[in-house]
Structures are given as structure tokens and as C-alpha cells.
């Protein structure tokens, strides 16, 4: 079990800035995120879209913002746990025990939940029996492409993932690419390659249609797709790959006994603590009267929460407010001379 001052759930911009605000106060944190990298919604939803309301930054992309925040917290050598979801939070006297789905355990007097709208998970197919095949012959990502050799694969989706995997897997499997529209969205070069493969008869493209049903017993044997005009077609399939992006799921957070307001967590606006002492929520996931879902609001929220975190983590020390421009302590912590 790892001991730390604060467990931060969520590596989005607000979770990252929490590391900074805690770090300059001399507190150690670990960060846990269900995605494979930092950035949260900024990276997953709009890496290339401009953001215009970060104070003193007239324009930056989600990716740049994330990169800059990571740079800003470098001096604190924070440990990140990616691809992990916090499943359980339990009280142990004045501490909290946090358990992830990979069985990592942490103990800390404070938790900051900066989880945005919850964890990102692949959007699943909703036809009957689809869960039954999940992980066996229905997949939402390709981890090891060797497992996709010499198969009849039906790929769903019209974006980059669907197109890229169609190109890659068509080298050694029979691919049917299925999309609800006749337009695909991808780099011109990719689109040209797809067209070429179709013209050469190496892949089959079905549009505009959607999955109607999966036919099989233990394994998938075929699928039927429904065209816009109502026509149904059966396609021999042993593997389905579905690329419909990610959805945000609140997940286990709802079960930790926190006061909720729809899908958000109620906090006070003094230190952003929830109804549980030592558990804070900041950023899009928190709710208080007047709450705005802005990145800058999240920054403010973790700055205030970090003060209360200090008091809980260092009960015998007096908290002293300091400016980064003039505090020798802070500058030491930032590695500045």
C-alpha cells in the first residue's frame, strides 16, 4: 500500500494543476487516470480545438495546455497511474484507502476527485447479446494485431480508428467496413488507400447501414446489417471491431457515499470539500451554486482545496500563505535558485 498526502483522481487539466498547488505547499500526490495519458477531455475530446479562455493565454489547444501543465509540475516528480480506474474508497480513521481495478492500493488523508464527467470508456454496441461476445470475438480496440490474422472481420465506424485498422488488418484478414453514411472521415491519403483496396476487391465497404443483429452461439458466425432503405444483408463474420468513440461514465464514484447532484458531486465553495471530510471534488465533476464548467474555475477550486489538504496532511504545522514570486520555500520546491 502506497502512502501519500493526496490521491488525485483524474489527470485532466484540473488534476494536473492540483499537483502544482499541493506541490508548492510541500505535499506529495499521486494521480490515477483511466486513460493511457494525461489531459482528460482536453486530449480525448478536443486535442486540436482551440481554447480561448485560459487567463493570459489568448489561444491554445487542449494538447498544448496539457503539455504546459505537465511541464509546470515536472519539479514535483509526481507518480502517475494510467489505465487504472479507482473502484473503491474506504475510510480508515483519518485516512482514506483507495483501491484501483488493477489492485493498487493507496492511503492518504486527502482525495481530490477531478474526474471530469467520469471515466472514458469505449462506446459499446447495443444490439442483443453483444456483451456475450465482448473480449472474445467483439472488440472495441486492437491490443495485439496478431490475434486478428486470417479472420472475417467486420469493422464498424467512419472515423480514423475504423479506417486505419481496415488498412492494417486487410493485409492478413478479410475486412468488411460498415458505416451509417457514405462519407468517411479521415486523412485524404487514408481515404485514397481505402478506395484503392475497395476497387481492387481487397476489402468490402457497406454503407449507409447499421448493425441489425449478431448471429452465433458461442462465437459470432455472422452479422446482419440493415441499409437505410430497410434492406437486410447477412455477412459472414467471426470478429467484430467497433469504433464509435468513447463515452464518459461516472462509474464507481456514485457509490462512495458522496452527496450527488445528478452526475456531479456536491461541494462547499469554501474549500471544495464534499460531505466526507478529506474528500474534495474540483473541475467539471463538482457542483455548488453558481458553478461554471470552465477550466479556470477548476484551477481556482484546487488552489483552495489544497489549503485544506495541507491542514489535514500536516496537522501539527501551521499553514502559511505564500506567494511564488517571493517565497524561498516555494522556489526551492520548484528547483529555482
Amino acid at each position: 500500500m502506497k502512502k501519500t498526502d493526496v490521491v488525485i483522481i483524474g489527470a485532466g487539466p484540473v488534476g494536473l494543476f492540483a499537483v502544482h498547488q499541493l506541490g508548492i505547499k510541500g505535499l506529495k500526490a499521486v494521480v490515477i487516470d483511466n486513460l493511457d495519458k494525461a489531459g482528460g477531455q482536453c486530449i480525448e475530446l478536443y486535442p486540436d480545438k482551440p481554447i480561448y479562455d485560459i487567463p493570459a493565454v489568448s489561444e491554445c489547444t487542449g494538447e498544448e495546455l496539457t503539455k504546459n501543465l505537465l511541464e509546470q509540475i515536472k519539479p514535483f516528480n509526481t507518480e502517475f497511474f494510467y489505465n487504472e480506474r479507482v473502484d473503491e474508497v474506504k475510510q480508515d480513521k483519518d485516512n482514506w484507502i483507495v483501491k484501483t481495478n488493477k489492485n493498487n492500493e493507496f492511503t492518504a488523508p486527502n482525495i481530490i476527485i477531478a474526474g471530469g464527467v467520469g471515466s472514458f470508456e469505449p462506446r459499446k454496441l447495443l444490439v442483443k447479446d453483444s456483451e456475450k461476445y465482448e473480449g472474445k470475438s467483439l472488440f472495441y480496440s486492437v491490443k495485439n494485431k496478431d490475434e486478428f490474422k486470417n479472420k472475417n472481420i467486420s469493422i464498424f465506424g467512419g472515423g480514423d480508428s475504423a479506417l486505419d485498422w481496415t488498412l492494417e488488418l486487410s493485409k492478413f484478414s478479410k475486412i468488411t467496413l460498415i458505416h451509417r453514411r457514405s462519407d468517411f472521415r479521415g486523412a485524404p491519403h487514408t481515404l485514397a488507400e481505402i478506395k484503392k483496396l475497395e476497387d481492387e476487391g481487397k476489402i468490402s465497404i457497406k454503407t449507409p447501414c447499421q448493425l441489425d443483429s449478431i448471429i452465433g452461439e458461442k462465437n459470432i458466425e455472422s452479422i446482419s446489417i440493415k441499409f437505410e432503405d430497410g434492406k437486410i444483408e447477412k455477412i459472414k463474420t467471426d470478429t467484430i471491431l467497433s469504433f464509435f468513440g468513447l463515452v464518459m461514465k461516472l462509474g464507481p464514484i456514485a457509490e462512495w457515499g458522496l452527496n450527488m447532484n445528478k452526475k456531479t458531486i456536491e461541494v462547499n465553495s469554501k474549500n471544495f470539500e464534499t460531505n466526507k471530510k478529506g474528500i474534495f471534488a474540483a473541475g467539471d465533476i463538482c457542483y455548488y451554486p453558481g458553478k461554471l464548467k470552465l477550466i479556470l474555475s477548476g484551477f481556482h477550486e484546487v488552489a483552495l482545496a489544497s489549503v485544506e489538504c495541507f491542514k489535514r496532511a500536516r496537522p501539527n504545522e501551521k499553514y502559511r500563505f505564500e506567494f511564488t514570486t517571493s517565497s524561498k520555500n516555494i522556489q526551492d520546491r520548484l528547483g529555482k535558485k
Partner: protein, 106 residues
């Protein structure tokens, strides 16, 4: 104030007065209309405010931009009359607009 009619997939409907300039999504969220989640808060990033627009209203709406159409690909059971309600801005011309929420959002 323009009236927007929100129908669920069982045909129950609610008529709400929505201020000009708000989106059809905001009108729903502010009035607790079930069936519109709007997880991303209107940044066209999640497709959980997906609605079906009554046929006769379709050409009165501004055409969906590419990014919206791409996002609708991700929605639950998209159809020809699918739109993201966060992209539909309420105006006097849309007084009486009828939208139907899908069976589920994700």
C-alpha cells in the same frame, strides 16, 4: 418566447418556453427534460444530447457542420433527422420546433 416541444420515445411530450439564443439542449437541461444528458456541456464532443428533429422542421435549421455530423456517427441509433441539440439555437423562427429524444443516449 419560442416554444420548444420535447417528446420522449414513448410519445409523451412537454412544451417549454426557451429564450432566444439558448440552445435546444440548454432549454432541456434547465427544465429537467429527461433523455438529454449533454455530458460535455455543449462543446460538441459527446453526442449525448442527440435528438430527432420532426421532418418539417429539418430545413428550417442551419445545416449541421462536419464536426456535428461526425459526432452524430457516435450517437445511439442515428437517423437522417438526427441532430445534436446543443447545436440548435432557439429563435422566433423555431417557435413550435418538435424534437424527440432517442431511447437512450449512450
Amino acid at each position: 418566447m419560442p416554444k420548444i416541444i420535447y417528446k420522449d420515445n414513448h410519445g409523451n411530450s412537454k412544451t417549454i418556453e426557451v429564450d432566444n439564443g439558448l440552445t435546444v439542449m440548454e432549454g432541456a437541461i434547465q427544465n429537467d427534460i429527461p433523455g438529454i444528458d449533454a455530458d460535455c456541456g455543449g462543446s460538441m464532443a459527446c453526442a449525448t444530447c442527440h435528438v430527432y428533429v420532426e421532418e418539417k422542421w429539418l430545413n428550417k435549421l442551419l445545416k449541421a457542420e462536419e464536426a456535428e455530423v461526425d459526432m452524430i456517427d457516435m450517437a445511439y441509433e442515428p437517423k437522417k433527422n438526427s441532430r445534436l441539440s446543443c447545436q440548435l439555437i432557439v429563435s422566433d423562427e423555431l417557435d413550435g420546433l418538435i424534437v424527440t429524444t432517442p431511447e437512450k443516449q449512450s
